[in-house]
């Protein structure tokens, strides 16, 4: 595999992410924000804690759906961006394997999760392992169910 995960994370994490004169961060073919993890976690946590037990599954599905749709559009934005072309594309030899490995290195650099693909059989199976992710920070003590 030609993908140098460490190099991708190093380079992508170095990209300066700051609002321009309009307070916007255009990049990766999307508008980006850099917000406190407590904000994203706070809404998900309060939403799922406040709903009745019989609606919990629906609330969780809504959150997953938001991430799902975001992952589709942002993932596409990332793998077609100038930043990708500069850093990751030169390493891509096997498609789609290298693109997927490269994408998870970028997701890691974005601070979503220290995550990587541990098993990949194209068109059949993909196993992703997240070793550390900001959404796990909702518990400061003990472990949530």
């Amino acid at each position: 595999m030609a993908i140098n995960r460490k190099s991708i994370i190093e380079n992508m994490a170095k990209i300066e992410v700051m609002g321009n004169d309009e307070g916007l961060i255009p990049g990766f073919n999307v508008f980006v924000t850099q917000l406190p993890a407590a904000f994203w976690n706070g809404f998900a946590e309060r939403l799922t804690r406040l709903v009745d037990d019989d609606l919990l599954e629906s609330a969780e599905w809504l959150l997953v759906n938001a991430a799902h749709e975001c992952g589709y559009h942002t993932g596409y934005g990332i793998i077609t961006s100038d930043e990708w072309k500069a850093v990751v594309a030169p390493m891509v030899e096997n498609v789609p394997e290298d693109i997927l490995h490269g994408a998870f290195a970028v997701f890691t650099a974005w601070g979503w999760a220290k995550s990587e693909i541990v098993e990949l059989i194209p068109n059949e199976k993909m196993v992703v392992r997240a070793y550390d992710y900001y959404e796990s920070d909702v518990a400061s003590y003990g472990q949530f169910k």
């Binding site: 994370i9 004169d21 307070g23 994203w40 609330a59 959150l63 938001a66 650099a109 920070d137």
Partner: protein, 168 residues
Amino acid sequence: MALMKKTEIVLDHQFDRKTCRHTLNGELHVLHCHHYATLYSRLADDCGMLDGKKLLTEVAEDVFFDLLIKYFNEHAITSLPDKFTIAEQYYAATGLGQMNVVCAGPESGEVELLHSHVDEGWIKKWDKRSAPVNFITSGYIAGMFSAVFERPTPFVPGRRKSKHCHGR
């Protein structure tokens, strides 16, 4: 001639190579895009099982209140103009947009939103809409006013003649 010194926010961005996490002034921050912010906003708007709009506004208010209070204390920011300048600059630096606090008092105020991640992201994704969609900024403004005036009682975001933000 007296020279006016412009207050500039100090932002210390760090990327921890071991945990692969970003911090801004010591607080964990994470990159997301307008798809996620607008989908969260739509989720809040659609959420019939709870008052999702209020929930999202309150979360933003609480988080940004804490963050701004911490900054004001750590950097000895005490005057109202400096506090609002810092709040406007943080809002812009994190990519939420460009806001201008037109007037403010302990009971009310007015904020112009010149550019907005959520509003412009919403329009890009789904086109214009007459009803407000920017619950995140409503919460930010409420938290900002509470932090600036050091009032524990939450401000109530409104649409006109008050602290507000609305879709363009």
